[in-house]
């Protein structure tokens, strides 16, 4: 099976989706500029300006237009270059995309995908955030954040085919991550967690880029004979906790690793569900590893103390087991 990057996996899913004439891509610098992270590079030349629509810098307009087009039968894929800019489109996403199906009594669907990307690399406070929890909080949206090239391709395809609005969260530090991906078209169902690594001692519940860091932490701990089981949630809404709960019943220990602020963050919901459904199996408090609760500093030194690192995951696991 070919080994390709996340970027290439996403490109394959988008090329595949473009076979459907209803699908078009709309966003900032996706065409003429050549695409900020290279995902849609060459698409303008291949599919033309009608289906690869460079836009003004107007996030609310971009997402609102995607919603309106979806309502009348198109299958738009809107790209918000960085999740930080999505704040400008929250009204569209939360008050319209998420509401239109239920608020109008189920007579109108909004089959659109919003692709956007988390990430940080000395970009300071406004360009290094994660809003996963805001999206995942909202009934009416489906929210996915895969970790592997295989899931990126299959879940993007599934998201595009889905009749409901889907927020598809990528990560700037994952585009070059490699993995095995079949050449043919396939879908990976939304709303299904997966076991990313088997182990008997402790469960790490995580998603997106943190799956890879957790794997590195597990490799380190394996040298000391500690077996870490890793659950990749893949979808945040609806949240499939079945795999994590089963794992927790076996290991009786859990660490939740998410790349966002801890207070009221995704890890709070995940940990709460583990407590609700796994209380009888609990041998130690559930630990959480997240961003330090500050606006992201620019200085490399401070930034690396703010983000989640392999060392911090290792430390949290050891502490939970001790």
């Amino acid at each position: 099976m070919p080994v390709i990057t996340v970027r290439e996996a996403l490109r394959q899913a988008l090329h595949d989706a473009m076979q459907d004439e209803r699908v078009f891509i709309i966003g900032e610098d996706i065409g003429h500029y050549g695409s900020t992270y290279g995902v849609t590079a060459g698409f303008l030349e291949q599919y033309g300006p009608e289906r690869v629509r460079d836009t003004p810098i107007a996030e609310s307009g971009i997402v609102g237009i995607a919603i309106g087009a979806a309502m009348v039968g198109m299958r738009p894929i809107a790209e918000i270059m960085s999740v930080n800019f999505s704040l400008l489109a929250f009204d569209m996403l939360f008050n319209h995309a998420a509401k239109i199906y239920s608020m109008f009594g189920g007579q109108i669907t909004v089959p659109m995908v919003l692709r956007t990307t988390n990430g940080w690399t000395q970009l300071s406070a406004t360009h290094s955030q994660s809003f996963d929890v805001y999206f995942a909080h909202m009934p009416g949206l489906k929210v996915v954040a895969p970790a592997t090239p295989y899931d990126m391709k299959g879940m993007l395809k599934a998201a595009i085919e889905d009749p409901d609005p889907v927020v598809f969260i990528e990560h700037t530090l994952m585009y070059t991550v490699k993995g095995e991906v079949p050449e043919e078209s396939y879908t990976v169902p939304l709303g299904k967690a997966r076991l990313a690594r088997e182990g008997r001692d402790i469960t790490v519940v995580t998603y997106s880029r943190m799956v890879h860091l957790s794997q590195q932490a597990a490799d380190i701990l394996a040298r000391d004979g500690i077996e870490v089981e890793i659950v990749d949630l893949r979808t945040l809404r609806p949240l499939d906790m079945s795999v994590a709960i089963e794992s927790f019943k076996k290991t009786n220990h859990a660490v939740v690793v998410t790349e966002d602020w801890q207070s009221f963050g995704t890890s709070a919901e995940i940990a709460a569900r583990l407590y609700e459904y796994g209380f009888d199996y609990l041998d130690a408090p559930i630990a959480r590893v997240n961003f330090r609760e500050v606006p992201m500093p620019y200085s490399k030194n401070l930034e690396l103390q703010t983000v989640v690192t392999v060392d911090r995951i290792v430390h949290a696991i050891r502490k939970t087991l001790s």
Binding site: S60, S102, M103, K142, G191
Partner: protein, 350 residues
């Protein structure tokens, strides 16, 4: 003595000759306006009797704008509107039983009782909904117009909003997108002189709203929104422009709401005299007088219409009252998603 020719036209009426419409159509505009007025007066009564909850924003005084504008549309054209949406829904021909039932929160409502007054919709009539975040539906309308263009259809989108909405970022973003991409959308600003309770000259640096289109090189026009025929003619020009691929148009309809912003409004921002002065320009009274003076309708026809409308509204209240409420399924995931995904353990509360 009026003279009706073989086409049903009164040959002595300049109105019939100028408008190109037959008497039945002209009279039907009157019926639509009266239906909106009576429907909403009944809404107010039902609100007072607590049959209707939430917010109730009445369109009374602005009826000619919706009726005239929507008369310029074809069934395969599309409408998006704001939270003061009763008039547009009725002018588009939505079933008033379903509208009253919606206000009563019943499952027979046009939005199954999930939306209420501010969120009427009927996809089968390409009536894509009332939206209650001011200005935020303009990008949606623009997107629907993009959809029509990409599907190579010659349908246009008409979107209604108030003067207050023209200060929102979404207004400017939408006008730019629409003109940039030459999209078939007609932006209809209902300038009723107040953004909720803030007067036009207090909220907008440019008080002639149609001039805001200049920034985008967009065609625009100001029209008397209390004159149903002038409104229709301006809308026809705008719709034709949009349909022929020349791009969007901004119409500014000058109008006035006789009631408060909502049922709770104490109207401190205007005097009774202001309202009385505008009431002399009541679009329904004006149009009725015109129909009578031109000999297009008789007093008896007018009385018959008024009575028929009253009966229709009463029947709508009975229908709404007797209808069942929406069931529990609407507060499960099946009511929230077209394709709900079951998870185990389930979503909280299910």
């Amino acid at each position: 003595m009026t003279q009706i020719d073989e086409h049903g036209r009164n040959s002595t009426s300049t109105l019939l000759n100028d408008s190109g419409l037959d008497a039945a159509t002209l009279i039907d505009y009157y019926r639509q306006m009266v239906l909106i007025r009576r429907f909403e007066e009944k809404c107010q009564e039902m609100y007072t009797r607590a049959k209707i909850g939430g917010f109730l924003h009445l369109y009374i005084g602005e009826e000619a704008t919706a009726v005239g504008a929507i008369a310029a549309l074809r069934p395969d054209d599309h409408i998006f509107t704001h939270y003061r949406d009763h008039g547009h829904a009725i002018a588009r021909g939505l079933d008033i039983n379903a509208l009253m039932a919606e206000l009563f929160g019943k499952v027979t409502g046009c939005s199954k009782g999930l939306g209420g007054s501010m969120h009427f919709a009927d996809a089968s009539k390409n009536f894509w909904g009332g939206y209650a975040i001011v200005g935020s539906h303009l990008p949606l309308a623009t997107g629907a117009a993009l959809g029509m263009k990409m599907q190579r259809k010659d349908s246009v989108v008409m979107v209604f909003f108030g003067d207050g909405a023209t200060n929102s970022g979404e207004f400017y973003e939408s006008l730019n997108f629409a003109q940039l991409w030459k999209l078939p959308v007609v932006f209809v600003c209902e300038n009723n002189l107040y953004a909720m309770g803030t007067p036009l000259e207090v909220h907008s640096s440019v008080t002639e709203i149609y001039r805001k289109a200049c920034a985008f090189d967009m065609k625009s026009e100001r029209v008397d929104g209390n004159d149903v025929l002038a409104m229709r003619e301006a809308s026809l020009r705008a719709v034709e422009h949009a349909r022929s691929g020349k791009g969007p148009v901004l119409l500014e309809a000058m109008t006035y709401r006789f009631r408060g912003h909502s049922a709770q409004d104490t109207q401190k921002y205007r005097t009774k005299e202001d309202v009385e002065r505008h009431r002399r320009n009541d679009p329904i009274t004006r149009y009725r007088t015109l129909l009578l003076n031109e000999g297009i309708a008789t007093e008896q026809q007018i009385r018959d219409i008024d009575r028929m409308v009253d009966d229709q509204v009463e029947a709508a209240v009975r229908f709404a009252d007797e209808s069942p409420e929406p069931g529990h399924e609407w507060i499960t995931q099946a009511g929230v998603y077209a394709a709900p995904i079951a998870v185990d353990p389930p979503i909280h509360g299910e």
